[in-house]
Amino acid sequence: MKHDRREFIKKAGWTFIGSGLYINLFSAGPALAGSRSSALKNLYAFIVNTETCIGCGKCAAACRAENSVPDGNYRTWIERYTIMHSGSVEVDSPHGGEKGFTPLSFNPADIRKSFFVPKLCNHCKKPNCVQVCPVGATYVSPEGFVLVDEKRCVGCSYCMQACPYSARFMNPVTHTADKCTWCYHRIRQGKTTACVQVCPVGARLFGRVDDTDGPVAQLLKAKRLQVLKPETGNEPMVLYVGLDKEVH
């Protein structure tokens, strides 16, 4: 009798611990996976045309307004490359190019070429920043957008260290990681991104890759495109027209 009771308590204990473990460790995942999961497809791509960009900085300003980006931090910015006949390279980006650019003081005769390169989060297919997030606070959305969950982020800055493009920053207001979302909210609402919308010269293009009539798919077909730092293996989804070897 006594033995039986002990046996029972033992069994009950194990069942309790076992089921507890099971519920706790595994329930949240699979329960939801069915409803939300879809294989990552990277349906969208962003194309930047460095050959038409005029460096007006309207994109960076619009981004700040659209996403309440705190001063001193940049979800997108514009760099100006000036390559001299001597081979030396000068790069500048005052205020991230947000307030435009002023003429350079170099002797025009010394300049081989000069151009603007807008930068933003590359929404990589294999984002290093997502790989290193220890708490699952940054992720690739079903549409292929790399997003940050500001309610789970602990603010460890590991993702900022891991991003080869320095597209991430520590938001001084929320104290969490912050970055370009490709205006996820606007896309889900059927609009285009703020920066694409305000660009006066169409140097920025955003759209679905699988939409064969769309501008992105057309350009993908028509142009030879390059990505930034392909050697990192992150497989960026921001593609550049006219990228020079000097650009990192």
């Binding site: 990552l40 460096g55 000036t82």
Partner: protein, 195 residues
């Protein structure tokens, strides 16, 4: 119940056979006891650790949001699913030119066929958000020289085919005009239909 059991057991155990049985039982019990004694502190420690771990899982179950989990790929999609929807629900700040046209037909139609046709109203006027409480001042931009020069100042980095002017005074002189005080670009160009 327990009492009943105990008495029944003692009654039954009065036979000689049961007596020897009880003997062996006792020695085994003693053995067990000394064994238990040596392990006593270890068991206590183990219980303590188990309690801590169990406590951890109980707290964890309460604190992890329901929608958190693997949404497809573990490597890149282990997150709180609600987070994506929360972000999707953020209000859009820029509304697009079509939105402005409804109330500012003249500017909209002016713009349509002109050099600035490719420009959005909000590119120059800033986001519509400022317009929300209908304070027109916020939306208004000055027709200052700098506002136009942001795009039209001559820079080596700009594509050569983009219309650029070296400086305001040089440009005015080029048009065989005299630079008058108070003159800006909008004196000669309508910002919505510059050419």
């Amino acid at each position: 119940m327990i009492f009943d059991n105990a008495t029944r057991q003692t009654n039954q155990n009065n036979t000689p056979a049961a007596y020897t049985k009880r003997q062996t039982y006792r020695t085994r019990h003693e053995e067990e006891a000394s064994f238990m004694k040596a392990y006593d502190h270890i068991i206590r420690f183990a219980l303590l650790i188990t309690a801590v771990i169990a406590g951890f899982f109980i707290i964890r179950a309460r604190l992890v949001p329901e929608s958190f989990g693997v949404q497809g790929s573990y490597s890149y999609a282990f997150y709180r699913a609600d987070s994506a929807d929360e972000q999707a629900a953020l209000p859009a700040v820029h509304q697009g030119s079509a939105h402005c046209s409804a109330c500012h037909a003249p500017q909209a139609s002016l713009r349509q066929t002109n050099a600035h046709a490719g420009l959005e109203c909000e590119t120059c006027h800033g986001s519509f958000k400022a317009h929300n409480n209908n304070t027109k001042e916020r939306m208004a931009v000055s027709g200052s020289v700098d506002a136009c020069m942001l795009c039209h100042a001559a820079l080596t980095a700009r594509p050569a085919q983009f219309p650029q002017i070296d400086s305001f005074s040089a440009h005015v002189a080029q048009q065989n005009e005299t630079l008058l005080p108070g003159m800006t670009c909008v004196t000669c160009h309508d910002p919505h239909a510059p050419m």
